[in-house]
């Protein structure tokens, strides 16, 4: 096995550990938590033309 493949395998192990930890802690990079930005207040309406 080439050196780059061994390095890649180690990275994969790290990613698996990271995923397991993130899933266990309920972490999501796509979470929408946070206060509403000020520009999100105001008039809304359809975008239909």
């Amino acid at each position: 096995m080439s050196r780059s493949s061994i390095f890649y395998a180690l990275i994969c192990l790290g990613l698996i550990a990271l995923y397991a930890s993130a899933a266990r802690n309920g972490y999501s990079p796509f979470a929408q938590g946070g206060a509403r930005p000020f520009f999100f207040y105001g008039s809304r309406g359809p975008t239909h033309k």
Binding site: S5, C12, I16, Y19, P29
Partner: protein
């Protein structure tokens, strides 16, 4: 340009011995290394072509050009592919554009081979004792398929020294057609009277140099790969795909076996219109795990041509630690020349990431707003056909649903993408190499078109 040996018939069999002879032209001592097989002998002192089948080494052609010494001296021995070869002859050829050189190698048990030097890489060629097969529209030898490369070209001998088993001389011309497979080249050589096939194997860098004790050559990065040059990324790509498949299987297993989300709380609240903000607190929201994600979903199915701003605060009862989030529920509909239309999400969700264990209250600040269509008819207008607008609502009923856990699908997808990144890079490099390697034939075709 070519990198393969040119036409020669199959050498005769029989025993061979080394003899020391004198050149009848210059008197220099020359070694006949494959006596009994050699037909033509080029004096390494004066360059005269001698007839090695005659006991007195009759001169066939006197030297007419300055001699120069090959990079690998005649008589050198080296081991390639487990066979010890001796260099008996050397010739240089050209296709009119690119020159290359060939060393004739000899082993008493293996016969002859050709060490071809294109100035960058060496390859070891052996004459085939059979005609290649034809499978799936490709030439094949021992199950390996060879694809056509560039059009047939003429190769001409420009220099020759040493001994050969055929009558080689400067100016000898053959028509050559090359076929390539990764690491291998198959060449058909025709001289009008006969056709011979040679299969040559591209040697790894430094192999021939180490075998014959000449300086190793450095790879020239960025140069166009040879037609028979295998992709340096193929092996790494195969290894990376195996590793990626294993890693993806583990990730999928972890994702599938992860606990799904659990419903914690459901409440219905009414948010009045035209109020700046309506505050509601619901709870308790019990979160028993050390950390977990929390998903809050607001369903406002009666919403029509209006929108609802919802600001959430998940507040821990004991510590008053607060986590904020927001969502907007909206729904609009109408009718135009294309017919009815509707848009907007009246069922938005928001996910809180990594919320610690505790008992929480969910504080909701809701504000409902009506949307007024600027192109709509005035309120006093009563349509002739169809019904008038529905009576305006005073409040919007919203069903709030709080769940904990789950939501790892996006995370799983992200990590699968990260794992796939390196194989994707290798695949692109491999494909680029193959495109450039096969580009030899395409570029030659384009040249012909011009």
């Amino acid at each position: 340009m070519s990198t393969v040996p040119r036409t020669r018939t199959r050498p005769p069999g029989g025993a061979s011995t080394v003899k020391a002879l004198n050149c009848p032209n210059c008197g220099g001592t020359i070694a006949l290394r494959a006596a009994g097989r050699t037909v033509s002998l080029l004096c390494e002192h004066c360059g005269s072509t001698l007839d090695a089948t005659q006991p007195d080494l009759r001169v066939i052609v006197e030297a007419n050009q300055a001699l120069h010494r090959p990079l690998i001296p005649l008589g050198s021995r080296g081991e390639l592919d487990g066979v010890t070869w001796e260099v008996t002859g050397y010739l240089e050829r050209t296709d009119g554009e690119e020159p290359w050189s060939e060393y004739l190698l000899f082993n008493p048990y293996e016969g002859y081979a050709f060490l071809v030097d294109d100035g960058d890489r060496f390859s070891l060629g052996r004459l085939l004792d059979r005609v290649p097969g034809w499978d799936n529209n490709a030439l094949s030898v021992d199950g390996r398929a060879f694809e056509p490369t560039w059009p047939t070209y003429e190769a001409r001998v420009t220099f020759v020294v040493g001994e050969f088993y055929w009558r080689v001389k400067v100016g000898e011309r053959v028509q050559v057609t090359d076929y390539a497979a990764p690491n291998l080249m198959l060449s058909a050589e025709e001289n009008g009277a006969e056709r011979s096939w040679t299969q040559s194997k591209l040697l790894d860098r430094g192999i021939a140099e180490a075998a014959f004790g000449i300086p190793a050559r450095q790879a020239s990065w960025g140069s166009t790969p040879r037609a028979d040059e295998p992709s340096p990324y193929r092996r790494r790509l195969r290894e990376a795909l195996v590793i990626a498949a294993l890693a993806a299987a583990v990730l999928l297993f972890l994702g599938i076996t992860a606990p799904s989300n659990q419903l914690v709380l459901t409440r219905q609240v009414d948010v009045p219109f035209d109020e700046k903000s309506h505050n509601v607190v619901i709870g308790p929201v019990d979160l028993p795990s050390t950390r977990q994600s929390v998903h809050v979903r607001a369903r406002a199915v009666t919403l029509n041509n209006s929108w609802l701003d919802l600001d959430y605060s998940l507040v821990e009862r004991r510590t008053q630690q607060s986590y904020a989030g927001y969502a907007t529920a909206e729904r609009y509909s109408g009718r135009d020349s294309d017919g009815s239309w509707s848009e907007g999400d009246n069922d938005p969700g928001v996910r809180f990431s990594s919320i610690p264990r505790g008992t929480y209250d969910l504080v909701i600040d809701g504000a409902a707003h009506r949307w007024v269509d600027p192109k709509a008819a005035p309120a006093s207008f009563t349509p002739i056909f169809g019904s008038a607008s529905l009576p305006a609502q005073d409040t919007v009923p919203v069903t709030l649903e709080v769940r904990r856990g789950g939501g790892t699908g996006g995370l799983l997808f992200l990590f699968l993408m990260l794992i796939a990144a390196w194989p994707a890079v290798l695949w692109l490099k491999h494909a680029h190499h193959e495109a450039r390697r096969r580009g030899w034939a395409q570029s030659d075709d384009e040249d012909d078109d011009e």
